[in-house]
């Protein structure tokens, strides 16, 4: 099993969710996060006070998938989340030791 952590532009959330749904991925967790990579922030001015905003709003999507489907799923996320500009985000992949469904003690890929 692999865990996918995708950090994407907030306005791309719906497209990514739709793309995952279309290939049959039901389980995912979404959080609103702030951060930056190589993307420079922007400047905001409030009554003449200038602020450099470098931590920008992003959305983190987490999902755990069977090893066999990893490529297909990361590709679906990347395609849906891509605008081609700096700041589109990143996808990280981790090994997962185990998964347990709380309701009935299913384990491993059965639990996904």
């Amino acid at each position: 099993m692999k865990k996918i952590e995708a950090i994407i532009q907030p306005h791309k959330v719906d497209q990514v969710k739709e793309a995952l749904k279309n290939i049959g991925i039901d389980g995912l967790t979404i959080s609103e996060v702030r951060g930056h990579g190589r993307q420079k922030g922007h400047k905001e001015v409030y009554r003449g006070m200038e602020y450099d905003v470098d931590l920008l709003p992003k959305v983190k999507i987490e999902t755990v998938v069977p090893d066999a489907r990893l490529q297909e799923i990361t590709k679906a996320i990347a395609t849906a989340a891509r605008t081609g500009k700096i700041g589109d985000g990143k996808i990280f992949v981790f090994d997962v030791l185990d998964a347990i469904r709380i309701r009935n003690d299913d384990t491993g890929e059965m639990a996904l």
Partner: protein
């Protein structure tokens, strides 16, 4: 009930008319009685109209503090201080009301010397439904009292913009009680009270035109705000750490409520539902509109982008500047005053503030102190008897008011009034802050400040999104 048809009504009307004319012919003495009754009815109708407008205006002025200022200021602070900031405005709706009832109204509007009113209205003694002809001949004295109370509430609330995010709540309460007593009540007496030093209508030595409170409300609060900002010092982390407004949406709603409430503030200051009220209403609106544009364009030129915060800051600056002028100037000077105020206050809160590096958290000085001063001076230029002819010479001809009427000396009178307000605000506020500092202490601890005043002073949070 069915309505009688006109055919049935006609004989009845004829009978009534005949009886009436017969009575008139037979008893000429009762004609006088009828005239008296007619006069009384006219008077009562005028009183009803005026009183309806004045009670509405009083409610509109409270609307400025209640949701208006609380939302405007609340949105501009950081999320951890939103409730403490709103509480400044809200708590004063209680505190000042009590002071006003006990002695505030009497000190401000009792007949006394040039600086203080007498004590005849202590505990609102004698303030009832009979009009006080000196202030407002057509409405109950009690209406005038409650209307003026709303001004006394919002004025110290305006100062809170300077000490937001770092003053103790207890210190704020004590400060306000003392400030209302030492600065506001005497200043209101000087400008509007009978026999006050600056009262142009009721025997003042230096006649000043301040229709709705440029000196009394905005200069006193704005200048006191600057003193508070300097005395308390900067917020922890200012200006290095970002301190962005946490919710400009609240501020926009608040500023628009201020704009609406201001019609009660200025047009209500005509103390009647008259043409003068309309003229003040129009000037108020024109001033706000032009100032919103003035600030926005100044910002557009300087920073490359026009902003919502700039727009609402500008409209408030314009409302401030037009306040003393509103019942004295024509619509086009009102536009000009507003536009100048927008650009001038923009320059004050951006260039001047950053040059002198004081932390006037929400720019109470830059908007109210600066805008109020500009407006009070320009009132001396643009005030005209074409709008306000209440001042007459012995032959009953209206006296010239401002420079445009050929009376440039009025600008000097206005400048003296401005200077008196500045001095009273500076000296009074310094003394009060010292007293508050020595008794309860003015500023919260650094830890409390960093945690945020909502949790550390009030034990609650503005946003509990997960509950």
């Amino acid at each position: 009930m069915t309505k009688p048809s006109p055919i049935h009504l006609q004989p009845l009307l004829w009978t009534l008319a005949l009886c009436g004319s017969a009575a008139f012919a037979q008893a000429p003495a009762s004609a006088e009685a009828r005239l008296t009754a007619l006069e009384a009815a006219t008077k009562s109708a005028q009183s009803a109209g005026d009183n309806a407008w004045m009670l509405t205006s009083a409610a509109l002025v409270l609307l400025m503090t209640g949701p208006g200022l609380a939302l405007f200021y609340g949105g501009l602070v950081r999320a951890k201080n939103v409730l403490s900031t709103m509480m400044h405005s809200f708590a004063l709706m209680g505190v000042v009301t009590v002071l006003w009832a006990i002695y505030g109204y009497s000190i401000a509007f009792g007949e006394g010397n040039a600086f203080f009113g007498g004590l005849q209205y202590l505990f609102l003694n004698g303030v009832g439904s009979a009009p006080n002809a000196d202030y407002a001949a057509t409405i109950p004295h009690e209406t005038y009292m409650i209307y003026q109370l709303m001004f006394a509430i919002i004025t110290p609330a305006l100062i809170s913009g300077a000490f937001a995010e770092r003053m103790k709540f207890s210190a704020m309460l004590l400060f306000t009680c003392l400030w209302s007593t030492i600065v506001y009540f005497p200043m209101a007496h000087m400008v509007w009270g009978k026999g006050g030093l600056l009262n142009a209508y009721l025997g003042g030595k230096i006649p000043t035109f301040d229709f709705a409170g440029g000196t009394v409300v905005h200069i006193t609060s704005g200048v006191s705000a600057l003193v508070c900002a300097l005395y308390l010092g900067k917020r922890v982390g200012f200006p290095k750490e970002p301190m962005k407004p946490h919710n400009l949406v609240l501020s926009v709603i608040g500023a628009c409520l201020l704009w609406v409430g201001w019609f009660g503030f200025n047009a209500g200051s005509a103390v009647s539902a008259s043409g003068l009220a309309t003229s003040a209403f129009v000037a108020t609106h024109f001033g706000a509109a032009a100032a919103a544009l003035g600030w926005m364009f100044a910002e557009w030129v300087k920073h490359g982008k026009p902003s919502m915060l700039g727009g609402i800051s500008g409209c408030v600056a314009g409302l401030v500047a037009i306040t003393p002028a509103s019942g004295f100037v024509k619509p086009f000077p009102a536009l000009l005053i507003g536009f100048l105020a927008g650009a001038f206050c923009f320059w004050m809160v951006t260039t001047v503030k950053s040059k002198f590096k004081y932390d006037d958290t929400l720019d109470a000085f830059g908007v109210h102190g600066a805008g109020g001063t500009l407006g009070a001076l320009l009132t001396g230029v643009f005030a005209t008897s074409a709008i306000n002819d209440a001042l007459k010479d012995s032959s009953g001809k209206p006296l010239p008011l401002g420079w445009v009427d050929g009376h440039p000396g009025q600008v000097l009178n206005q400048a003296i009034a401005v200077a008196i307000s500045w001095v009273l605000a500076i000296v009074g506020t310094l003394i009060i802050l010292k007293i508050v500092d020595l008794t309860v202490g003015v500023r919260v601890s650094q830890e409390e400040e960093v945690t945020g005043l909502d949790i550390s002073l009030h034990g609650e949070e503005g946003y509990n999104l997960e509950s």
